[in-house]
């Protein structure tokens, strides 16, 4: 795999990018629609002389990630929605222990066992902490197979930079679809030195990595320190794409697969004379509130297509601050809206907002 583009599924691209990012250990438990990733790693990690374990559960997998991460090595796990629920225990511990690590969620329909169709219904879980306690995890949302690769590679850097778990939030369609992808711009990474790692107390004082702080004031100080880190991440790490927002009178806000579909709706809307633009969040946390806030002064309304009953829409509303109407559209249960359905909804919202201004 040199300079040329290769045809790969999103799941495989994630695996290959992780290998280039220097992942030393991968731990996973089978679940559709991310099985290709675990299978890919089972082969490639051993080829590279690195660690692969098919764990007994997602609880164990994330704890194995914890173990390799306290050792100072880059480690990752992947799963889909029900398995990610189990990983929340370990993610909370990792956040408390300030451990880097990459967790990939190839989302499927829920709640419960749901189904194996693509979905975006884990948004709240992914962006609000997910597990117990006062913590946050960086969350990256790819919308193409190429971006699956690029963001997984970035995820390892961000995890190390901030000593924090990073989630990559894809969905079943992205995981399964094949697209041309290149890794030419992703050189074999040199992870940073980690003097805090547990490598045996040779020539130094013993070290510990814990989340337990029995003293109340001590835990409070720890929480405040984490809070400062999160504030810095919010300042430094916001990533998004803006499409034709310069003259936009209506704004779509969408991420991942929804954004792909909505891009086509946007194109068709423009052909029909509707001045539609789009904000595509790439980081779901930290959320790009600023561009949304700025757009709220210019556009008539926002439309938020999601593969859920509407979760990210709450972040859009936080950015809009009540200045303009914000509408949800989309399918759920493993279904994906068509470009036409989103386009129809755009027209519908146009009418609604026109009537609203007339009354």
């Amino acid at each position: 795999m040199g300079q040329e583009k290769v045809l790969m599924t999103g799941n495989e691209a994630i695996g290959e990018a992780a290998i280039r990012a220097g992942v030393q250990a991968y731990y996973g438990y089978p679940i559709t629609p991310q099985n290709e990733l675990t299978a890919y790693m089972s082969r490639r990690m051993l080829e590279e002389g690195r660690v692969f374990i098919q764990s007994e559960s997602e609880l164990a997998a994330i704890s194995m990630v914890t173990g390799s991460s306290v050792s100072g090595k880059r480690a990752m796990t992947s799963s889909s929605s029900p398995g990610i629920s189990l990983k929340q225990e370990g993610i909370s511990y990792m956040a408390g222990m300030e451990l880097p690590g990459v967790i990939v969620n190839v989302m499927r329909g829920g709640p419960g066992l749901g189904n194996i169709g693509p979905a975006q219904s884990d948004y709240w879980q992914a962006t609000r902490g997910g597990g117990h306690g006062d913590y946050r995890t960086i969350c990256l949302a790819p919308s193409t197979v190429q971006e699956c690769a690029d963001l997984v590679y970035l995820a390892f850097d961000l995890a190390d930079k901030h000593r924090n778990p990073v989630l990559v939030l894809a969905d079943g369609r992205l995981g399964q679809m094949m697209e041309p992808v290149t890794f030419a711009h992703l050189p074999d990474a040199q992870p940073p030195e980690k003097p805090w790692a547990l490598t045996g107390a040779k020539g130094r004082q013993p070290q510990r990595i814990v989340s337990l702080h029995l003293n109340l004031d001590e835990l409070e100080q720890h929480n405040i320190k984490l809070g400062k880190k999160y504030a810095k991440i919010e300042k430094d790490e916001v990533r998004f794409e803006e499409i034709q927002m310069d003259d936009a009178e209506a704004c779509i806000v969408a991420y991942g697969t929804s954004a792909r579909v909505a891009k086509e709706s946007l194109k068709r809307a423009r052909q029909q004379g509707l001045k539609v633009g789009m904000i595509r969040p790439i980081t779901l946390w930290p959320y790009p509130y600023e561009p949304v806030r700025a757009a709220a002064d210019r556009v008539r309304f926002f439309l938020v297509p999601e593969m859920s009953l509407g979760q990210m829409i709450e972040d859009v509303r936080l950015g809009v601050e009540g200045k303009k109407p914000v509408y949800h559209t989309g399918r759920c249960g493993g279904n994906v809206s068509t470009a036409q359905e989103i386009l129809d909804e755009l027209h519908h919202c146009c009418q609604k907002t026109q009537t609203a201004t007339r009354v």
Binding site: Q24, A25, I53, E56, A60, G67, S69, A75, G200, R208
Partner: protein
């Protein structure tokens, strides 16, 4: 800490002095608790084998949670029961280190049952120090998977009854069925001579790990006077009279011996 301490041979290895691997922090353990004894034994063996600078331990959720305050080695935390999974993640990327998973009976045989079975089954080259005190100490004396029949606990107030609460789990015997486990021994902390056997077992377990033979575990029948509602002396007698009858001490599996025979 000077880097030469680990190599320094104590003049009186069995004399009563604080092992180099043990800090001078007063422990939080109740009077007569077995955790402190095992902490000390582990520290002694680490000293004697010169492993202080290459040891990494994983502390459990339970009364052993503060192990890092008492051992002068690198220590990681784990979520309740996931101790051997964290140890696995450490050992796989640092195969040259001595990796220890220290666990209570709730941690190991209830919430962490899947982790311990699969860690043993994969033959992970780690050593588990398993404190069987037949009770949940940290949370206030509830039934453990190892609680004996008729034993009264906060959640078996009329005594453990098989029909209602299930039967005590024999961890060593259970793990012995798995090909990955190389060395399993149950020891009692009821007397000085038994404690010495415990120390030998720890040493054997560490040697098993260093030789790369696979999973090793030492189970300690360990007193919990506080939640057995006994004084420390009665608790030690109780280990001999009751606990040891349900959980017979001895080597349950020893692949080093089997391989010795083959040779």
């Amino acid at each position: 800490m000077s880097s030469t301490t680990a190599a320094k041979k104590p003049k009186r290895p069995h004399g009563y002095r604080r092992p180099d691997t043990l800090t001078d922090a007063p422990t939080h353990f109740c009077p007569g608790c077995g955790h402190g004894i095992v902490h000390r034994l582990v520290a002694e063996v680490i000293d004697e084998m010169g492993l202080r600078e290459s040891a990494i331990a994983v502390a459990p959720v339970g009364c052993g949670v503060l192990a890092y305050d008492y051992w002068k080695i690198d220590v990681s935390e784990a979520a309740h029961g996931r101790t051997p999974a964290v140890a696995t993640g450490i050992k796989r990327v640092q195969p040259d280190k001595l990796v220890l998973s220290y666990q209570g009976d709730g941690d190991l045989a209830a919430i962490g049952t899947a982790e311990i079975i699969h860690t043993a089954n994969r033959g992970e080259n780690i050593t588990v120090l398993f404190i069987n005190n037949a009770i949940y100490g940290m949370t206030g004396g509830q039934m453990a998977p190892t609680t004996m029949l008729q034993q009264k606990t906060a959640t078996t107030q009329a005594g453990r009854e098989a029909r209602v609460h299930g039967n005590p789990i024999h961890v060593c015997e259970l793990l012995a069925t798995l090909d990955g486990s190389a060395y399993l021994e149950r020891v009692s902390l009821s007397s000085p001579s038994n404690v010495r056997k415990g120390k030998k077992a720890i040493k054997k377990a560490f040697e098993t790990q260093l030789a790369g033979l696979g999973f090793s575990l030492v189970e300690f029948l360990s007193p919990c006077p506080t939640y057995w509602r006994m004084n420390p002396v009665e608790a030690l007698k109780h280990i001999d009279q009751a606990l040891s009858k349900v959980f017979p001490p001895g080597v349950v599996k020893d692949k080093t011996r089997e391989e010795g025979k083959d040779a």
